[in-house]
């Protein structure tokens, strides 16, 4: 078999849209990494006249917002915030979801009943309202936002992992592992989980996209961390001026649109790569 990395890339490349998605994401990552170089000062500092339209002043190529802050600097710094929130929230959601789903699927019976009823409680609470309540109670800090988004996103992972475990636990290699004297925990982590992980990776990439949207929604409502530049925050800032200086909302909106689109395309691409790979084995 060829090197797994080249093999992976060969399969991924076949999905053109997924390659475009990856390219867009690379641009966003590059923006985030280069932000401190091109915009070394705090992006929330007041630097010029308010409501300066884009392409009118060479110092502020994308204009300024209602308080005279550089939109280009906020977009660049916001890229990093957005990506980190998305990734960490997805990691939180995946960890909780895999833990609960694996236990429910492997043990079945009463354990499954209890854990799935618990999952359903979370599923029935409207996501955004739960998130708003959580952040309102805990305070608008970036850690709370991340944890909150993780807490509303794990249920789909749990259900997926549970389903995977329910089919995998019946496979003979699980019985063989038990006959070998492995403990339940060891079988779950080292034997079954590696078989169940490909669809989870796909779902996790989609949760990153969802997390970006949730953070934007929070920031738009003014409940995200006000001390950190973020795309959603900029939209929230611009919403009062939407009829006159609409670019303040439009530019970060476009950035969010492209990033979420890119993440979804990547998720599709991963799905194409990981599923047939599992079947061929």
């Amino acid at each position: 078999m060829a090197n797994p990395v080249t093999e992976f890339w060969r399969r991924y490349r076949r999905n053109g849209a997924a390659v475009v998605g990856l390219a867009i994401l690379c641009v966003v990552v590059a923006m985030a990494l280069s932000a401190p170089v091109f915009f070394p000062t705090n992006p929330l500092r007041l630097v010029g006249p308010a409501e300066l339209w884009p392409l009118t002043d060479a110092r502020f190529p994308l204009g300024t917002d209602s308080l005279g802050r550089d939109i280009a600097a906020q977009l660049a710094h916001g890229a990093g915030t957005t990506l980190i929130i998305g990734l960490v929230a997805s990691l939180v959601a995946t960890t909780i979801g895999v833990g609960i789903g694996a236990a429910a699927g492997y043990y079945g019976g009463l354990v499954d009943d209890v854990l799935m009823r618990f999952t359903e409680i979370f599923q029935t609470i409207p996501n955004l309202i739960f998130l708003l309540a959580l952040v309102a109670v805990l305070g608008p800090k970036i850690e709370h936002v991340v944890i909150g988004i993780g807490l509303i996103s794990w249920t789909s992972v749990a259900r997926l992992v549970r389903a995977e475990f329910m089919t995998l636990r019946e496979r003979e290699f699980v019985l063989a592992s038990r006959a070998m004297g492995m403990s339940d925990l060891r079988i779950i982590v080292t034997q079954i989980l590696p078989n169940a992980i490909p669809p989870v990776i796909v779902l996790a990439s989609l949760i990153v996209a969802g997390a970006v949207l949730f953070e934007s929604a929070l920031a738009f409502l003014g409940l995200s961390d006000p001390n950190i530049a973020s795309w959603g925050g900029l939209i929230g800032e611009g919403r009062l001026l939407i009829r006159t200086s609409w670019y303040v909302c439009a530019l970060p909106g476009l950035a969010i649109l492209l990033t979420v689109l890119a993440l979804n395309l990547i998720g599709d691409g991963l799905n194409d790569v990981l599923n047939p790979m599992l079947k061929n084995r």
């Binding site: 078999m1 019976g109 496979r171 003979e172 290699f173 019985l175 063989a176 592992s177 038990r178 006959a179 070998m180 004297g181 492995m182 403990s183 060891r186 080292t190 034997q191 590696p194 078989n195 061929n280 084995r281």
Partner: protein
């Protein structure tokens, strides 16, 4: 010398919605070190459930071991906690399964899986475990063991995979090896190779081997002693030569009669009827409805195990009478 493994009155029931399935009912046998014991019977007669009972792996629900003892040395395995059993499984009693296609984990290389089984019970470094794995692959006669080490299971043939399974089972040098239909899924030529291998390894490791099979050809090849099971019970036990030379129980006779032999012109004789439901057991002998020699007594009373000579056991009234007629000692 006391036997390596002693099974006394093992009884395993499955509690299903339709009723209690008596999968294993009062099964007793001994296994010595250096001995291959064959457990023979049709599908559904409780052979595999016996194996799972010995390993403490009866699926619960619906199954439960409701009585008996499984003595390994002086410990009763049925009294041990799950944690204590985990130390015994794979270490003192190992098992090889029927289906080599699905018994290996598809996402790991075969070498890594053997390493994993070594590390389950041995406190050795990964490097040492790796060396041991290569040794084991060599021991089960896999050509180019170092090269095969990094192959995924789907790259190997059925026979190779079964060899890998055997290597994993032997990883911790077990005292008892249970092989549940180890050759059923393989081609005939490969079957013979795998059986030869099992036979050789049994001698090399000095293990007691319990070979579960429905194939009497397999039994003749490598078994020392045979236990014939029918509907969850032992109906006959004898050294392998005696089973083939003079089967006592009508069921054993039927099994032998339905075996193809070279030069045999006449049609194979099958045993009429099917194995009865293990839920609604009639009071008498469970084989009576299919038995040509059945008497009125057989339908009312369950025959006990009668010892014949010093090494044979049979549970059949007709066989007891026959043997008594020949002037042999029958001890019920």
């Amino acid at each position: 010398m006391s036997p390596l493994l002693q099974v006394c009155d093992l009884t395993t029931h499955l509690f299903t919605v339709e009723g209690v399935v008596k999968a294993v009912e009062g099964l007793s046998f001994d296994l010595d070190a250096d001995e291959t014991l064959a457990l023979v019977g049709e599908s559904g007669c409780g052979k595999s459930m016996t194996a799972l009972s010995l390993m403490g792996l009866v699926p619960d629900p619906p199954g439960r071991i409701v009585g008996g003892q499984v003595l390994l040395g002086d410990r009763d395995l049925l009294q041990l906690s799950e944690h204590e059993m985990q130390k015994i499984r794979g270490n003192e009693i190992a098992m090889v399964f029927q289906e080599p296609m699905t018994s290996l984990n598809p996402v790991f290389t075969v070498g890594d899986q053997i390493v994993e089984s070594v590390l389950t019970h041995r406190q050795v470094s990964r490097r040492q475990a790796r060396e041991r794995a290569v040794e084991l692959l060599d021991l089960v006669r896999i050509p180019d063991p170092r090269g095969r080490f990094d192959d995924y299971p789907h790259r190997l043939s059925g026979g190779m995979r079964q060899r890998v399974m055997i290597a994993m089972a032997l990883a911790c040098d077990p005292d008892v090896l249970i092989a549940d239909e180890p050759t059923t899924a393989l081609d005939v030529t490969i079957q013979a190779q795998v059986l030869d291998l099992l036979g050789e390894l049994q001698g090399e490791f000095g293990m007691g081997v319990i070979l579960i099979t429905h194939d009497l050809g397999v039994v003749a090849g490598i078994a020392d002693r045979v236990v014939v099971m029918y509907a969850g019970r032992k109906v006959e036990e004898a050294p392998v030569d005696d089973i083939f030379a003079s089967p006592l129980h009508p069921y054993t006779q039927g099994l032998l009669g339905s075996m193809p032999r070279p030069g045999l012109e006449e049609r194979l004789r099958e045993i009429p009827g099917v194995i009865p439901s293990l839920i609604d057991m009639t009071p008498g002998c469970s084989f009576a409805p299919r038995c040509a020699k059945a008497m009125a007594r057989c339908r009312e009373e369950q025959p006990d195990h009668a010892t014949i000579g010093d090494a044979r056991v049979v549970a059949c009234f007709a066989a007891e009478e026959e043997v008594a007629g020949r002037g042999l000692a029958v001890d019920t």
